[in-house]
Symmetry: C2
Subunit: 494 residues, 2 copies
């Protein structure tokens, strides 16, 4: 696949000078149109052989485009803070918003290729990394991103010639590479593995463009032309929405879903409640001081029927903790900045580093609950979310984060009682709105959504805990106990 890029392409100055002004003008126009539409971000990945003009091209793009709308992100070895988060976290932090362009220099492909060339990754580990990259890019593309991946290529003799030239280059860019390109073996392995990566990850939604890197003019014009065409095409078309396969578990032929199987009559009397709650709270405080906590983190997500007691359950969780030990993230309507990003971005930004605890009061599941039922989101998007959420949670799990997800369930009668009580108690009146009554009318639709959510996203690594919450005491104890059990399970595994 690289052969064609090894040909001796040379472009003379006159041809280049004749073509360039038009190209730059068109690129600028496309960039402004991108901003005006504000419909999608552009993500440009820069990879390939050292000395093939990666750095020069990045600078050129900055020069050709309006620098306010383009940002170059360089990813070197992860920082200490980055290492305390899931690996993808740092990429999420730097995603360009809709209407903007991000150039990722030293991205996930650089990481996997360096790892492979240095023999830190086995071939199957590389394959696993490829799978992760594919899922990430698929998600970005499904959220509308235009992704361009450039591979700058040189043949081996061309690289040798280039290295000789660069030896006296004061910028020393080639010396910043984590690989020693003067070794013939490095080139061979890099090209062999690179070809495999390019081949595997060359998709319609995120294609590679292999650029002959030897001649600067040829290379620059190629990159500019490819970028322009891709931009123009994307600006002219509406992106095709990918649908997600329907639920994995077919609708039960007897009509009994997971919520119907719950026993909501479970209760705790006051004395038992107080004993058990105190014991569980003390256990939680102890677990969060445990040495093993340093290699983990804790994330709790609370969802539930209106008036099921999420707030009061959260207060019981934090009851025995110091405020420096946790953070509560109430999830409300997204900000402008959040709306300009892929859906999960606003949750990724709140993912705690190691030894930290974040409580989400409502969560990323809004996508498949309220956004689905209220038809705030196209069907294709919320259907897709199940898979994206499973991937997201697996990444948290793989980074050692303990994740607990609670659905606090009450029945319709209990809800009615609580709504009425809220209306009658002046200091609770702010807790009940027209929306609550409207949601109540959609009880069945919400139940269906909850059922599908649990079926699709309750996994061994991130199980849902369905909390019987007609009795608040029972619910609160179950919540704190579940957190403790999850932490202990994680500690047991190391």
């Amino acid at each position: 696949m690289f052969e064609a890029a090894e040909n001796e392409h040379l472009l003379d100055e006159a041809t280049y000078d004749a073509k360039l002004p038009k190209l730059r003008e068109a690129l600028l126009a496309a960039q402004y149109e991108l901003k005006a539409q504000g419909r999608f971000p552009v993500i440009v990945l820069i990879n390939g052989i050292e000395g093939a003009g990666k750095g020069e091209t990045v600078k050129l793009l900055n020069e050709w485009m309006d620098p306010r709308l383009i940002r170059v992100e360089t990813f070197l070895q992860p920082t200490a803070e980055e290492r305390q988060h899931p690996p993808a976290w740092r990429y999420w932090q730097r995603l360009p918003g809709r209407g903007r362009t991000g150039v990722f220099f030293g991205n996930w492909y650089s990481q996997m290729l360096h790892g492979r060339v240095n023999k830190e990754l086995s071939r199957v580990e590389l394959d696993a990394a490829i799978g992760q990259a594919e899922r990430f890019e698929r998600m970005l593309a499904d959220e509308g991103a235009l992704i361009l991946k450039f591979w700058f290529h040189l043949s081996k003799p061309q690289l040798k010639q280039r290295l000789k030239h660069l030896k006296n280059d004061p910028r020393l860019g080639w010396k910043l590479s984590p690989l020693d390109w003067r070794q013939a073996k490095v080139y061979d392995r890099f090209v062999k593995e690179g070809e495999r990566v390019v081949r595997r990850t060359h998709h319609d939604y995120a294609p590679w463009h292999v650029v002959p890197g030897f001649d600067e003019r040829f290379r620059s014009l190629t990159v500019g032309t490819v970028l322009l065409k891709a931009l123009q095409r994307a600006l002219a078309n509406k992106p095709r929405k990918q649908r997600r396969a329907a639920a994995v578990v077919p609708p039960p032929v007897d009509g009994r879903g997971v919520l119907e199987a719950m026993d909501l009559t479970q209760r705790l009397d006051k004395a038992d409640y107080e004993d058990q709650l105190l014991a569980e709270q003390a256990r939680l405080a102890r677990l969060l001081r445990d040495k093993k906590y340093r290699r983990h983190a804790l994330v709790a997500a609370f969802e539930g029927n209106d008036a099921a007691g999420k707030g009061s359950a959260i207060r019981r969780v934090t009851g025995a903790l110091d405020p420096r030990q946790y953070r509560i993230v109430p999830v409300a309507a997204p900000s402008d900045e959040e709306l300009a990003q892929p859906y999960l971005w606003r949750f990724w930004r709140h993912i705690p580093r190691q030894a930290n605890f974040t409580i989400f009061d409502r969560s990323w599941y809004g996508r498949v609950l309220v956004e689905r039922v209220e038809e705030l989101t196209p069907v294709a998007d919320w259907q897709r979310a199940y898979g994206e959420i499973n991937d997201f949670e697996e990444q948290l799990h793989d980074a050692g984060i303990v994740l607990a997800k609670f659905w606090l369930a009450i029945d319709q009668d209990t809800q009615l009682e609580r709504f009425r009580a809220r209306e009658e108690t002046p200091f609770k009146r702010f807790k009940i709105t027209e929306d609550d009554w409207r949601n109540r009318d959609k009880w069945d639709l919400y139940s269906q959504a909850v059922n599908d959510m649990v079926v699709q996203t309750s996994t061994a690594i991130a199980p849902w805990t369905l909390v019987e919450a007609n009795d608040k005491r029972f619910a609160r104890v179950k919540v704190v106990r579940t957190l403790n059990e999850a932490l202990e399970r994680a500690y047991d595994k190391g």
Copy 2:
């Protein structure tokens, strides 16, 4: 994801008996419609917990449907012959043709899960196997196949109860399992890994259906209903064609493709030719008797311009060999049976086992050459073929098969000369037809197709060899020498 399938679903006999006749009638009708349309095959994968009714369901499907149109394939441990082929070969052999249904009991998912539970596979190896399964199913789906994947589930207590029952079952189906399900750990690991596999491979084009396996009536009705709905939907819709991303290497801004870079003036004089050819032929004969050949196999694919000398080159390859040492597969129009299968099927069937040599006179590249240029195949299909071919060749390579691909290139003047010579020589006249003249008129289109083919499918593990064939002597020596070098490289690696 399995929780919902662990509920105690029970279906009473009366409800079952009331629903069944209609379901069976509709299933039969759909099956006949499937045959009448003859548009796509149905592939049903059966997986899940032992004792959850997999075997019973397979028998039931056979009972409900017309057995002439459905075939159950069981894949146990690979046979000796299967082990001498790439792992996917045995699945290719048993694919149902369009209009027919294949039930795969013990498929690629069983293999990877058993391997993982027995700790023969690491987690990243499982991920790599998942990636392979995804690419295979994606290809089948792109070729039109309707794929249904059933996961039969039981909770742990349900399994225990079932095993107690089965202990005295004369059929002993559960004893045929390669796993000892009486061990609690086997269940835990199987479910944990199974969930991961189901989650990762649940796609729109090949969705999973998790079936509660405990109650026979509930289970049977669920499977029947899911199958019926999927069949009806597929019979009513035209499948959506997936497009492949355009070429990895952008069209060169200077217009110089890989063919333009060839030096067609290269020649060999007669004496050199005879010396070198004899030496190379002897070397080939020696290499095919080498002990190391037993762990490899050789596949040579010949493509080229009309009258470029493919036939005579092939004769030089086989010159010093015994006919028992090779097989020549001339690729002509596909048979009816071949047309009913995915495109690559007719090449998979000729892939040699270890220590065998197959020569393809024209090859799977017809898809992106003649079928593209003559517009015999929709654009989406031949564009997709590049990726499918790369995957196919990687599987050959991974199984130790040495693959050489030759493009014999001549220029237009040389072709004209040879065409005229053929017309003038009575015993060669059969070699020149109207088609040849017509193809000649499309020289540029063919050149473009060859260029794209080389750019997209010349890989480190399966490189194209462009053979300068204006001089037949030069071409023949280069072909035999290339084969020898490829074999030696493979032997060196072990």
